[in-house]
Symmetry: C2
Subunit: 220 residues, 2 copies
């Protein structure tokens, strides 16, 4: 059990950090721990549809700027810079070899359990959530990656580390750069988001949020 | 700063709880705190595209079962049951009155800053992320709600509270129930997920995950 006051401090500490102190470097232990909480994050059917690339290489960081208009300063100053790839439909469709292999060799389901789960997944994808084209399946898998995103940002804040989640990039341009310069197989993976991690150069302004009564309704 | 060992304990504690002890009730203080960490979660452009309904009412819980094949036992046994609604495109499109009002009255941006941000948002939605129809905008807004999901599940675990995130429902049927029985304006809101919160009735099996080297690539 963790004290609520300590948790709240981390939520107050976290903000979308625009500029990092380039002299301050996150320890390997802390960075590994942030990724560990992504690894342990839940996902639909437990399929972990994510892969993270940590970009230290300066040339590759520079390349990313071509598509990522919202990341320029962060690519220049962040201690660690993560690209989150999401598994595409060739992996995430209910009848893919990936799903069959995952249920068998990662989740260790007996074949009859795996079959039942794949049938449930077929109903879910085709009937319940209308995940009936590439884009819809990608967006569904991407949502799972945003669970890991929330956890990584909060973990960082709990360790006193700043971060900035980034959607400020052109998806098509960035996927091309990932294919050509990073060797990513873009038939299988697409980018969901980027995150910069480091230590703030400046203090943030006040946090704005709607009050609780605007976001919560009780049905008693 | 929170000790890494304490954080890790919460990640190990959390699992998709299938059955809750119906006698054990979450305190108001703890439940409010879980929602508070959703409220303080980040979202794209800070637009907080979420609204949560906490369902205590037994008749309404029963109604939800009609569409939610994956929630039956949780609706019967969970201490608290949350439906997460996501704001649809009539709210979340760059040129909506909602966005303009939000930037002015929640985020307190001066008009010239708000205008620049709406222009950036137009480019982002129409050019960079191809958010060009209702469904694509909904899925993008929904992704933001999954950030809050990750945070709520982790907060709960840090307080020793069990949870289960649920996508096991028919979206169309459930949206109809939300419209007819909950009074939700489904032109403006659609369901993203449900979460059951409470205290476990049984102990979970071992957690399965791919090893770190399968989910992280370093570019040094």
């Amino acid at each position: 059990m963790i004290d609520k006051k300590e948790i709240l401090k981390a939520y107050q500490f976290r903000h979308a950090c625009k500029l990092f102190d380039p002299e301050k470097i996150i320890s390997d232990e802390d960075f590994s721990f942030i990724i560990e909480t992504a690894r342990l994050s839940p996902s639909s059917l437990g399929l972990e549809p994510w892969h993270f690339i940590e970009v230290q290489n300066k040339e590759l960081r520079s390349k990313l700027k071509e598509g990522a208009w919202g990341a320029t300063l962060k690519l220049e100053t962040a201690s660690h810079f993560v690209v989150c790839l999401t598994l595409k439909s060739s992996y995430m469709k209910y009848d893919s070899p990936y799903v069959a292999d995952f249920m068998k060799n990662v989740q260790h389901h007996p074949e009859e359990v795996a079959q039942a789960r794949r049938k449930m997944m077929e109903n879910f994808q085709t009937r319940d959530f209308d995940l009936t084209d590439e884009r819809k399946i990608f967006d569904w898998a991407s949502k799972q990656c945003y669970i890991a995103l929330g956890n990584m940002l909060t973990t960082a804040a709990m360790l006193g580390i700043d971060s900035c989640p980034i959607e400020g990039f052109n998806r098509e341009t960035t996927d091309k750069i990932l294919k050509n310069d990073f060797g990513v197989d873009t038939d299988k993976y697409g980018i969901s988001y980027m995150i910069a991690f480091g230590y703030r150069a400046n203090n943030p302004g006040p946090k704005t949020r709607r009050p609780i009564e605007k976001i919560l309704t009780w049905k008693k």
